[in-house]
């Protein structure tokens, strides 16, 4: 497997000849990685050593066959992921983050736009393998037309991993009756001394929200658009100006 040592910020376009890639983040470093063109990938692995931070931004806009993301996070280290999923047709993604040592942290933010005949299944797992580890997952989706969007995944705090925290949030706004949208994050907890929460919401745009916005002069369509953008736009803060513009134009084109 090809290995890349990250000791400075990097923008990396995957090439179609590579199927597996490992990124190593050295101890005591703080780096940003922007990944694109990951459609042909099968495995993306991240090794974050001790006292290090990886800011990972992934922008996917074609299809994803069956991509696996794995990450191992060391002591006092952190991975912060922003995943902008604007893939079409298919996205089967499985991400697993292992918090292996004391004070290892993971933050995962994903926004997914699913339209037409898209078929998306996104599982994000965080394994708390050490005490005092902290994980947070925020998956936001918009599901339209005949598409299918599933958010799954497990946050698992194993026995003995006290003082860990784990939060999961999965929200999908559904536009059409033919959509299939499911949010089923699972919390698996084998330890008492922890803090955990999870929320899963799948539903149409709230009527009271539409009334509120239209009572200020917005048309129903504009109100829905603004509310929907509210699900997707928060992902922008993980990206540079250039990618933000690309994402913005994709959103506007497809909504």
């Amino acid at each position: 497997m090809k290995e890349i040592v990250l000791n400075q910020d990097l923008e990396y376009r995957c090439s179609s000849s590579e199927k597996e890639l490992t990124f190593n983040v050295a101890s005591n470093s703080d780096v940003s990685l922007l990944l694109s063109d990951i459609e042909e990938m099968e495995l993306l692995n991240f090794e974050v050593s001790d006292n290090a931070t990886l800011h990972l931004a992934i922008f996917a806009q074609k299809f994803l066959k069956n991509v696996k993301i794995t990450a191992n996070i060391g002591e006092n280290s952190k991975i912060i992921v922003y995943f902008a999923d604007f893939t079409v047709e298919r996205n089967h993604l499985d991400a697993s983050i292992n918090l292996n040592k004391d004070n290892a942290r993971a933050e995962w933010h994903l926004a997914s736009l699913s339209t037409q005949k898209d078929d998306k299944e996104i599982a994000v797992n965080i394994y708390h393998n050490s005490p005092n580890t902290h994980g947070r997952i925020d998956n936001y989706g918009v599901c339209k037309e005949n598409s299918k969007l599933i958010f799954a995944g497990i946050s698992h705090i194993i026995k003995g991993c006290h003082q860990s925290t784990s939060h999961q949030n999965a929200k999908i706004v559904v536009f059409d009756d033919d959509c299939k949208a499911i949010a089923r994050p699972i919390l698996k907890i084998d330890e008492n001394d922890i803090e955990a929460s999870h929320a899963a919401v799948v539903g149409k745009v709230n009527d009271e929200h539409i009334f509120y916005l239209t009572s200020r002069g917005l048309s129903v369509e504009d109100a829905k658009l603004l509310i929907t953008l509210g699900y997707l736009k928060p992902i922008l803060k993980g990206f540079n100006e250039q990618v933000r513009e690309q994402i913005n134009s994709l959103i506007e084109g497809r909504l």
Partner: protein
């Protein structure tokens, strides 16, 4: 001068009649106090005027400047100059307050305002309301305190400059200083010609805004329309005189009424007898 005329309005929600023949009117430059025990249809009236789709008008008409708005959509009514500050403003996650405010400002004006002008308007309105500017950059009402939500409603009023503004319990959740700020805005806008229909359970707000008229809603109908001495009377003695003097039985009572508010104690006693 803009006038909102409500004639013989009958309204149902989920098959239950809540308003049964409301007739009244509010003109620009006038402030009308709307009083009545909890659960008698005050909020319903305001929501119906704003065109809330959940309420069904079965009879009667709404006219604004002699234009029939009974069948207009909510956004058309907003553009025509109506505004409702909600009793419980919704939290809308992900929608940035300033994005929403700007969309609203542009929707209700003939000409779009420039980014520069919008931020100047926003800056001066937040200053007037002594609101931290940071509230404008956050998700709409999300995590706002009760008082911050109410100020955000008044911020929208200042930016949209409606002809007739309806305020539903705007003072609940506001501390004394904030009530004063809101009252100052109401007085200033009234002088400039805005009309107000104000629901409140507290004499304090009415003492500050000095309404021009007071109307009382009982059992889904306006049963009294008079000067502001009505507010004082209800504050001191409750709604019992309506039964004894007008012979109107006060039908129902909302379980979660506010016990320190105008008139509710008297209603409770009436019902117990």
């Amino acid at each position: 001068m803009a006038t909102l005329k409500i004639s013989d309005l009958h309204v149902e929600v989920e098959g239950k009649e809540i308003l049964n023949g409301v007739t009244t009117q509010i003109s620009e430059g006038e402030t009308v106090a709307l009083l009545g025990p909890n659960g008698h249809g005050k909020s319903t009236l305001l929501n119906v005027i704003m065109g809330h789709p959940r309420y069904k008008i079965t009879q009667g008409t709404l006219l604004l400047d002699d234009v029939d708005i009974t069948n207009m959509t909510t956004d058309e009514r907003a553009k025509a100059g109506l505004f409702l500050a909600l009793q419980n403003p919704a939290e809308v996650p992900g929608v940035i307050n300033s994005d929403f405010l700007r969309a609203a400002v542009n929707a209700t004006r003939e000409e779009k305002v420039s980014t520069y002008k919008f931020y100047k308007m926003l800056d001066s309105a937040t200053k007037e309301l002594k609101m931290p500017f940071d509230l404008a950059t956050r998700s709409l009402n999300e995590g706002f305190s009760g008082g911050e939500k109410k100020r955000n409603e008044i911020l929208q009023l200042l930016l949209l400059e409606p002809k007739i503004a309806m305020l539903d319990e705007i003072d609940s959740g506001l501390d004394v200083d904030a009530i004063q700020i809101v009252a100052d805005v109401i007085k200033k806008e009234e002088e400039k010609g805005m009309g107000f229909l104000v629901i409140s359970h507290y004499a304090r707000l009415f003492d500050l805004i000095k309404p021009t008229r007071a109307i009382v809603m009982i059992n889904g109908r306006i049963v009294l329309d008079g000067d502001t001495s009505l507010i004082k009377r209800i504050d001191q003695t409750g709604y019992e005189f309506i039964k004894t003097e007008l012979g109107i039985e006060i039908e129902k009572e909302n379980a979660n009424m506010n016990t320190v508010s105008i008139g509710t104690c008297a209603v409770k006693e009436t019902i117990k007898k």
